[in-house]
Subunit: 356 residues, 2 copies
């Protein structure tokens, strides 16, 4: 089942008895791996965005459950698991893959709890590793499906970072970009910087440099101008949570790009595995939107760019309504409008892509 | 003719024999006045954006002509004037007020050249001071016209900085905001930060703090989200050049906001004096758009935010088509669609606002 090409870079790795996470807050200039030997350290890394991106958060949480069981004995097995679970569940509200992975982890726990703490931990580790591998494999499939929507010479715009760094590996939106590039269907990538935390400028550029895919960095303000000049042929972005009707929560600014793409008849694709679809959220209105500290706006890399104490609003995500989405590229194929219907079909079709 | 309320802060001032410009590149943390005793220093300040904003560039260039004539004798009067004129004209391509002021300055020169260099300089100084005072007065009138378009409780979004700092004083877009606030028709201001150079975060916040007008700072990416949440009632922006048909060049990102405002039925106002209208540009396609160094994108306050050598595109302005503009608020009144027609009418009506 696992793709033999699995040479993909991953922002997380299991080493002996602990999880290591690439600290994405200090990229692109410094490559530091955080050694997470406690669930608190995993939770903190998720909260601080050392690891970010819905699929990567999900896989990290899976390993976080394993870390939480390290050293547990049979008596405190249940308490340890529950405490770890709650700690991780409370880190970030919007990305549904977090909750999705934790629910799967709970199923693994329930199946093995009678065997004792050590058996639970062993089962969780095997499951987390399979989840990690399956995520990469999902993204490769997703990328290849997406490449079929591209044509030679296409210039694609992407927002934030939905690359290897945001997933177990290979990436969702950048997975599509990688597959399109390999298929000779891509000329270059427009990378918008993605304020406030500059994941485009810091992370997507870093990944494209590694993949030797041509790109140009622009401010978020430039997207309308690029489209009105006819310089953008495709948009592809990731997702933090997709509602049952196709409404998509993603990094703040995504909605703006979708509105612009609609005006300029540029296809607007969302790339995400089925695990990002939350059928419990009927529409985008049901998706909780995280509001983060104003300091992320008033400061850039620690430098104060506004008057001291300037009040700022910092919604981390916005919701793009289904009507603005040309298609959702998933690991089981391309979902086209009407999205509510094609999402239902995708879940009703047996799939091997979600290990339990 | 001059408003007796003229207590407005101005980013430029004439002191004895030279021009002083507030260095806006180091705001909001440092207030430094640059002493410009040569036309090269004035040109450099315009190019480096120490002074920016179409009306402020125009008034600075007027004083730049005076500085250029300092110490000239009758023999080199013509050469000095021409050299200064060309130097200033070559600084920035998009803001039409630069060329407009320089053309007016040439008329002053032509009227007085027979009287010798000293008389030319004296006449230019008197004219520049009148131009400066008239710009402030224009903005006060413009602001009061704009306030009539506002209703109590309005939350207005503005982009970049079209305030006192961008003009001779009082501001255009922020002039409207000041007048609306004074008239009790404004609840608060949404300030988008305006990458790459953060004029919103650095300058508009600074001005609103001084005026004690409530505001919240957001990233440029947030505008779509704010509108979809129903949190924006009005948009008002400045302009660097308005074509004869109403197409408006303004800071990059303006077009994106106009598209969003159109989708959400939020009135989108451009605030600018008639001197920003260039009837020689038939449409926005005729307006030259300045492309600035990529380093403005890859660096924030000198901090490198992208991989070393990352290629970046940096268009400084974009063009908002007339069809997306609800009205242009000018110093002679509010111009409504069809804009081509109302612009023609405005110029055909005698006005005392443009001193020659």
């Amino acid at each position: 089942m696992i793709d033999t090409r699995m040479d993909a870079f991953s922002p997380l790795r299991w080493r002996d008895d602990h999880l290591q996470l690439l600290d994405q807050t200090v990229l692109p200039h410094t490559e530091t791996w955080l050694e997470c030997r406690t669930p608190e350290l995993v939770a903190d890394a998720i909260r601080r965005l050392s690891v970010r991106g819905a699929p990567a958060i999900g896989v990290s949480a899976a390993f976080g459950l394993v870390v939480g069981m390290t050293g547990a004995d049979d008596e405190d097995c249940a308490a340890r698991f529950d405490d770890t679970w709650q700690l991780l569940a409370g880190t970030r509200p919007t990305a549904v893959n977090l909750r999705w992975a934790l629910e799967l982890g709970r199923e693994v726990y329930e199946r093995h709890r009678a065997e004792g703490a050590a058996a639970v931990r062993t089962a969780l580790l095997a499951w987390a590793q399979e989840l990690h591998a399956a995520d990469i494999e999902s993204n490769r499939r997703l990328g290849d499906y997406g490449a079929e929507l591209f044509e030679a010479g296409n210039r694609v715009l992407t927002h934030c970072n939905a690359g290897a760094l945001a997933t177990g590996g290979y990436g969702t939106a950048i997975g599509v970009i990688q597959s399109s590039w390999a298929a000779g269907r891509l000329a270059m990538v427009w990378v918008d910087e993605t304020r406030p935390l500059l994941q485009g400028a810091r992370l997507t550029t870093w990944e494209l440099e590694r993949a030797a895919i041509p790109y140009r960095l622009v401010t978020d303000n430039s997207v309308g101008s690029l489209m009105s000049r006819g310089l953008v042929d495709r948009v592809v972005v990731g997702a933090d949570r997709i509602a049952a009707n196709g409404d998509t929560a993603n990094k703040i600014g995504t909605y703006t790009i979708a509105v612009l793409a609609d005006r300029h008849d540029v296809p607007f694709y969302v790339a995400a595995p089925l695990s990002t679809i939350d059928r419990q959220s009927a529409t985008g209105a049901a998706i909780p939107i995280e509001e983060r500290a104003g300091e992320e706006v008033t400061h850039v890399f620690g430098v104060d760019v506004a008057p001291e104490g300037a009040p700022a609003a910092n919604f981390a995500f916005d919701v793009t309504p289904a009507e603005l989405i040309t298609a959702i590229i998933t690991d089981v194929g391309v979902l086209k409008p009407p999205l509510a219907q094609s999402i239902t079909q995708a879940f009703d079709t047996p799939s091997t892509s979600i290990p339990v």
